[in-house]
């Protein structure tokens, strides 16, 4: 059974600080997705990582994938209040990615002034 574990599940941090969210998954997968969800809203795609060693950056967020370690990280640089949200990682349930995603439980991030 595929399992995706995120840690921490809850994170409160101050503006200007750096932090990393970790995402471990239990079976072989060559793709990893990161999503953002604001309260009461839908999920917004942040990053799609499709190969070992993939690194993508958008503003203050940077995501990486290590398929050998079955680990992805989401790094936040110099956090700002607007990044407060819940962040989910997910990986494909089977080969090809067409048969849906398995999600982690999410990391609830609060960034305080």
């Amino acid at each position: 059974e595929l399992k995706v574990e995120q840690n921490p599940l809850f994170l409160s941090m101050q503006e200007g600080k750096n932090y990393t969210i970790y995402c471990n998954y239990s079976t072989t997968s060559d793709r990893l997705y990161w999503y953002r969800q604001d309260p009461g809203k839908s999920l917004e795609s942040l990053f799609v990582l499709l190969s070992n060693g993939a690194v993508k950056q958008e503003g203050r967020l940077m995501a990486s994938l290590d398929t050998k370690a079955r680990l992805s990280t989401l790094h936040i640089t110099a956090a700002v209040h607007d990044l407060s949200a819940t962040y989910f990682c997910a990986t494909s349930r089977g080969g090809g990615g067409a048969d849906g995603l398995t999600f982690g439980k999410g990391t609830h991030l609060i960034i305080q002034p």
């Binding site: 048969d99 995603l101 999410g106």
Partner: protein, 116 residues
């Protein structure tokens, strides 16, 4: 483009009632999905479809049925609602890239369902 839309946005049912949730996408995507989101549980896949006329079970399919009669629509049915089906339901769609690997999933706004 409207992207992925869901109808209705909110619904309250009594135990034993039935209902259908409608998902529509205008991006010509092959793949469509239904997830449910419960507090502290992340999203869990209910059913999915890899093409018109095809459906398959996901992680938590019991108590739900689906149909995909048209490529752009994916319906989720609850035949006899139970309080355990109180949740937020998200529909999503995706497509096969030219390199034969699926792209990210695009999510609808969600349907908040309460079963009393």
């Amino acid at each position: 483009n409207a992207g992925v839309t869901q109808t209705p946005k909110f619904r309250v049912l009594k135990t034993g009632q039935s209902m259908t949730l409608l998902c529509a996408q205008d991006m010509n995507h092959e793949y469509m999905y239904w997830y449910r989101q419960d507090p502290g549980m992340g999203l869990r896949l209910i059913h999915y479809s890899v093409g018109e006329g095809t459906t398959a079970k996901g992680e938590v399919p019991d108590g739900y049925n689906v149909s995909r009669l048209k490529k752009q629509n994916f319906l989720l049915g609850l035949e006899s609602a139970a309080p355990s089906q109180t949740s937020v339901y998200f529909c999503a769609s995706s497509y096969l890239r030219k390199d034969l690997r699926t792209d990210t999933q695009y999510f609808g706004p969600g349907t908040r369902l309460t079963v009393l």
